[in-house]
């Protein structure tokens, strides 16, 4: 076989496996198997396929040539999108409220773990316990293996709905430390292969590291802001397709430019993503916003799956370079170094902070969620020293071990440690909402942001970088938030106590609207299908009667309100999910729930219970705040009627 046919055969195999892994993971998700996640499935499938290739068809060695060229592909075509997406969909509010701890974990933690793992390996190899490695090799391995992977853990967290602070800590850390460990790695590769470690070298590398971090931050930021200005001052929204093409081109430009200038492209595209999500996206038209958001998510999703498949496929594609003691010690070193970096840093953070401390259980969870993933593997391919092969296979095994083992136990652990979120979060637990809701909606209105940066941003940057429409909308939203805050602060004490009692007794009687919802939540756990049907129907009838009365009373008012709302929507458009959030949250929620009530697909009912339980409080709060919108429930009733017919 010549090279090009081998290539296309490999790609065919890859895409087929990709389809298979998507289907299997979808099947598992529907059957509520939580022990293995899509990343795990991808890896397992890849391992299986490479095993078959190697031992049944005996073509394994040919496929190694197929893998050897992939490093460039990874760096140019797969990694940028993954990182861009994570920067773009970052929940900025929680991210910035935990900024201190995230930065500490990311910068200090990554550096600590790099040097710990590196040092550990240096000692071991100097004493001849494991393979003889040079100092630089050890440090290289340390730096690449300290890049934790955001993909797997975060999707599990999102699915389970864990505490927001824990989520943003893990998210922020894993996203930023990718960038940082890549920078560290790239700095280390610039040294001569045989340099021994001295203090000078360490400081030199730290200097280079800071330089390239700052440089790529600047490039990323510049591109983000530049793009905001471009879209602000041109009327691109009449060409949606071109608008989003331009959006992507700008992001990739930042990556390529900083990679070209020997800086970290990853860090640049990450910051570019953050700034684009903050300013640029609000300047582009509705339609292209939709396209852009979904395209970003889809592309990142596919790239991630491909990377994990490659990972799995690589396991049996390399010959005899597995070094078991090295692998064992490397895994141990990873676990220890992560413990030695998380616990002290959290202690420091807790000393510093007066509120929002990192609990013991959170610390444990952060430690546990140190999965290694695509970035580590990609970096390990790039080691071209004598023992590069061994280090790569070691990394591979570390990744496979952490993803399958640690990733598999994460759901269990979350439940054991009771880390489900207390404060309602907006990404509705279900992953598919990610693309539209990720990072955009801010609901935690209890604590206003008084960060000086936020003030500066509000006062100067937002007016300068965004369109007037968006600014007006922000103002209106602020006023709304303040109203909510006032009402909430009054009710806060009484209601929250109520909720806790209610949760314990499972007997909720707060409001006529929430009543219904809560009952569903309870039914899902307990009752059979038929009972469920009957009870829900009874409930409808009661609700309908209640609602009709209310409707009659409020018809006139509602009409006025609706008109206002419609106008608002025209003014503002899709990007203003935050705004329409409080208005249409209930409606949206009903629409989401309602389709599941065609009784044929009772399986679906199982799918929602988590969403409901985690969003229950959101709903209730919103209901309390939006007593005026009592008519929302009527839309639900109509849908049910249709289906009954």
């Amino acid at each position: 076989m010549d090279e090009s046919t081998l290539e296309s055969l490999g790609l065919l195999l890859l895409f087929l496996l990709l389809i298979l892994s998507i289907l299997i993971s979808h099947f598992f998700r529907r059957k509520r198997v939580e022990i293995i996640h899509q990343t795990g499935i991808s890896i397992a499938l890849g391992v299986l396929a490479s095993f078959i290739m190697r031992y049944i068809f005996n073509v394994g060695s040919k496929f190694t040539s197929f893998f050897s060229f992939t490093e460039d592909t990874f760096m140019l075509f797969l990694l940028p999108q993954i990182i861009f997406e994570s920067g773009y969909n970052m929940e900025r509010r929680h991210f910035f409220s935990n900024f201190g701890s995230i930065i500490l974990f990311a910068i200090l933690g990554t550096t600590i773990s790099t040097f710990l793992v590196g040092g550990f390996l240096i000692i071991l190899s100097d004493h001849g316990v494991i393979l003889k490695l040079t100092h630089i090799e050890c440090l290289l391995f340390g730096s690449l293996v300290s890049a934790t992977d955001p993909v797997c853990v975060l999707s599990i967290f999102k699915h389970l709905g864990v505490d927001v602070n824990l989520y943003s800590n893990v998210f922020g850390e894993s996203v930023l430390n990718d960038a940082i460990s890549i920078v560290l790695f790239e700095t280390l590769t610039k040294f001569e292969k045989n340099t021994t470690i001295s203090a000078k070298v360490v400081f030199q590398s730290l200097g280079m590291f800071l330089l390239s971090l700052v440089g790529s931050f600047l490039i990323g930021t510049l591109f983000g802001l530049f793009s905001a200005l471009i879209f602000k001052h041109t009327l691109f929204h009449i060409h949606p397709m071109m608008e989003s093409a331009l959006f992507f081109s700008l992001a990739w430009c930042s990556y390529m430019l900083s990679a070209f200038l020997n800086l970290s492209g990853i860090a640049a595209i990450l910051f570019c993503g953050i700034f684009m999500a903050h300013y640029t996206i609000h300047n582009i038209g509705e339609r292209s916003q939709k396209i852009t958001k979904e395209a970003i998510y889809l592309i990142a999703y596919l790239s991630e799956s491909i990377v994990f498949l490659y990972l799995g496929l690589a396991v049996f594609s390399f010959n005899e370079s597995y070094n078991l003691p090295l692998i064992g010690f490397a895994i141990l070193a990873c676990l220890f170094s992560r413990a030695l970096n998380i616990y002290p840093i959290s202690a420091i953070v807790n000393l510093w902070r007066k509120y929002n401390k990192i609990f013991q259980s959170h610390q444990f969870m952060i430690w546990f969620s140190g999965l290694r993933g695509a970035v580590a593997f990609i970096l390990s391919i790039r080691i071209d020293t004598d023992n590069g092969k061994e280090l790569m296979t070691t990394t591979l095994m570390v990744v496979v071990f952490t993803v399958i083992f640690l990733g598999g136990f994460t759901p269990l652990l979350v439940k054991k440690l009771k880390l489900e979120r207390e404060c309602p979060d907006t990404s509705h637990g279900a992953e598919h909402n990610h693309s539209t809701s990720g990072g955009q909606i801010v609901d935690d209105c209890s604590r206003p942001m008084n960060n000086p940066f936020v003030k500066l941003d509000k006062k100067y940057f937002i007016p300068f970088f965004t369109k007037k429409k968006y600014q007006e909308y922000l103002k209106s939203q602020e006023i709304e938030m303040e109203d909510l805050r006032k009402t909430k602060s009054k009710k806060d004490l009484e209601e929250e106590v109520d909720f806790k009692e209610i949760e314990q007794t499972n007997n909720l009687t707060v409001d006529s609207q929430t009543n219904f919802l809560q009952n569903i939540g309870m039914y899902l756990g307990d009752l059979d299908e038929i009972e469920l049907e009957n009870q829900i129907e009874n409930q409808y009838q009661k609700e309908k009667e209640d609602q009709k009365e209310k409707e009659d009373q409020k018809e006139n008012e509602n009409e006025n309100e609706n008109e206002d709302e419609n106008e608002d929507e025209n003014h503002i458009g899709i990007q203003d999910q935050i705004h329409s959030h409080s208005h249409s949250y209930n409606q949206g929620y009903w629409k989401e729930v309602a389709p599941h009530f065609d009784i044929e697909n009772v399986n679906h009912l199982e799918d929602i219970d988590i969403t409901i339980s985690s969003d229950m409080e959101t709903i209730m709060e919103n209901n309390i705040q939006n007593d005026e919108n009592a008519d929302d429930i009527s839309s639900f009733d109509f849908e049910i009627e249709d289906q009954d017919n």
């Binding site: 290539e7 895409f15 060409h239 949606p240 397709m241 093409a245 331009l246 081109s249 017919n645």
Partner: protein, 541 residues
């Protein structure tokens, strides 16, 4: 510089050109210039950047960087362009004109390829103007037979040209790309053989085998994807639906390539069939997502190809041969005449109700621009006179883009082929179509009848998300949106935009409806009446 650096440098350059091009295109669209299309602009920017690079002495590096080789075109860029044209094909008009389209695409392309190839052979053997081997002549003929009238189509849409004409031009260009590619691949396979009559027939046989094989695999894969999406419950996960759709298309590509067939033809048919079945099974959200994403990918790929084309003008090693260029250019024009005129005559004999008038024939002849596909095919040819072919193709592409693209508006207006309110076509429910509707479609799709979806008001004869320069009147109104206080104006604009001729801010409904529209015939379709009755009965119950 290391190899990776080249990658970064080259891609940076491309994205940068893309950026500049898009910003300029934006202003171009806002200005009232119609004789200069964005393909032209893209290549112009490529040319300018190329001049700079050459001046700074970097042409060596850019050429070396063209790790942008043939495979990159064939694997990364062309499939997206072709898939999109298949997936967003306006099927109702396409199938209405299927006879003429197939004639022009299959026979026409073969005629052009062999006409140009044959005359080149004669020239190179009998005269001393140039000296190409026989197989190279045939290769060149098939390369140059791929038409790519993007700019013409955009102008057609903008001016509201007769939908049949539009469908003919569009359908021809979509199919003939695939055919030209298959032809080129066939000739490349046989490039070491001597050219004899047997060889020609053999290669024709291979050609049809490859074509039909790719068609079969594409259709099969698309049907599998439709079946899958129908039966696994993924409606709540638009991302998964979309991934499955695209992955099946890409799988088709690689499967065809592995089997020695043409991946491009496979992905084209996969796109067409997926639009026919899989599309109907998708949730509303993913319907829009798939269309937009396909369009986005093809838009970017096309920009890349044209920028590359522009860069190639000054940065590549060229083998200018004025003789070949002249001869080839005139052969192109003549061969297109010998392709359009006889085939239209045949079409007029067969189909009494779809006549192609002389005017339309002229427009068809006129819209034979060469573009992305021809250029992509000519890059990095593994034959001795590869550079000559590249240069000649490049020049012909540029001439047709600038000359014909620029004159289209004038020609269309002079010939008066515009139509005010195009009639809505419908397909008679008979023969194969009936069989298909009765058995295959219900098997592969969730077929639900929804009267609102067949609303003629939502009908548009042109593909919905082709981006078109604004009409003059519209342009003025759009400018006022700049002022955020005048939002009422914007709203009124949006209403106006629902005219079928002004597709700029297309309505979403249309997107969802168009494919449903294709296959339904409101007056005569018995099945639908049955379903409607059933629905009514259900409502009564």
């Amino acid at each position: 510089m290391s190899e990776e650096k080249f990658g970064h440098w080259g891609l940076l350059l491309f994205f940068f050109c893309c950026l500049v091009a898009m910003i300029l295109i934006h202003f171009l669209r806002r200005s009232k210039i119609t004789y200069f299309h964005e393909t032209g602009l893209n290549s112009l920017i490529g040319i300018i950047v190329g001049v700079f690079i050459k001046h700074c002495g970097g042409s060596e590096e850019i050429r070396e960087f063209s790790g942008f080789k043939r495979e990159i075109f064939m694997i990364l860029l062309l499939p997206h362009i072709i898939f999109e044209s298949g997936y967003n094909l306006k099927k109702r008009n396409f199938f209405k004109n299927i006879v003429s389209i197939l004639l022009f695409a299959i026979l026409g392309t073969l005629i052009t390829a062999f006409f140009v190839g044959g005359f080149l052979i004669i020239f190179s053997h009998k005269t001393s103007i140039f000296n190409l081997s026989t197989i190279e002549c045939l290769l060149f003929g098939s390369i140059i037979s791929a038409t790519d009238p993007v700019s013409v189509l955009a102008i057609f849409q903008q001016l509201g040209v007769d939908p049949d004409l539009y469908a003919n031009v569009f359908g021809e260009s979509v199919l003939n790309d695939a055919i030209a590619i298959v032809l080129v691949e066939t000739f490349l396979k046989f490039r070491d053989h001597d050219v004899t009559a047997v060889f020609i027939f053999k290669s024709l046989g291979v050609f049809f085998g490859v074509f039909l094989g790719s068609f079969g695999i594409g259709a099969l894969n698309a049907m599998i994807s439709a079946f899958l999406i129908k039966h696994i419950k993924v409606r709540d996960f638009p991302i998964i639906e979309t991934s499955i759709l695209f992955l099946f298309a890409w799988c088709t590509y690689f499967l065809c390539e592995d089997l020695g067939l043409s991946g491009i033809a496979g992905i084209l048919f996969c796109g067409i069939v997926q639009a026919h079945y899989s599309y109907l099974n998708l949730s509303e959200k993913s319907k829009e997502l798939t269309k937009n994403l396909a369009h986005l990918l093809s838009f970017m790929s096309e920009s890349f190809v044209f920028i590359y084309l522009g860069l190639a003008v000054f940065c590549f090693e060229h083998d200018f041969h004025v003789g070949i260029i002249f001869v080839a250019f005139f052969l192109c024009l003549i061969s297109r005449f010998f392709n359009i005129a006889p085939l239209s005559w045949i079409n007029n004999k067969i189909k009494k109700n779809h006549q192609i008038s002389a005017k339309k024939q002229f427009v068809l002849w006129f819209s034979g621009l060469r573009g992305a596909v021809s250029f992509a095919l000519s890059v990095d040819l593994p034959t001795p006179h590869g550079p000559v072919i590249l240069t000649t193709t490049l020049i012909i592409v540029l001439i047709t883009i600038f000359l014909f693209g620029g004159l289209t508006t004038i020609v269309v207006k002079k010939l008066d082929v515009q139509v005010e309110n195009p009639p809505i076509p419908y397909m008679k429910n008979k023969g194969l179509l009936k069989l298909e509707r009765k058995y295959i479609k219900p098997f592969l799709t969730h077929r639900k009848y929804d009267p609102a979806k067949y609303d003629p008001a939502n009908y548009s004869p042109y593909p919905s998300n082709l981006e078109v320069p604004l009409l003059d009147s519209q342009n003025d109104k759009e400018e006022k949106i700049e002022n955020p206080n005048e939002i009422e104006l914007e709203n009124s604009n949006e209403n106006q935009n629902q005219n079928p001729n002004e597709i700029e801010l297309e309505n979403q409904n249309e997107n969802q409806n168009e494919n449903q529209n294709e296959n339904e015939n409101q007056n005569q379709n018995e099945i639908e009446n049955q379903i409607e009755n059933q629905n009514e009965n259900q409502n009564i119950n």
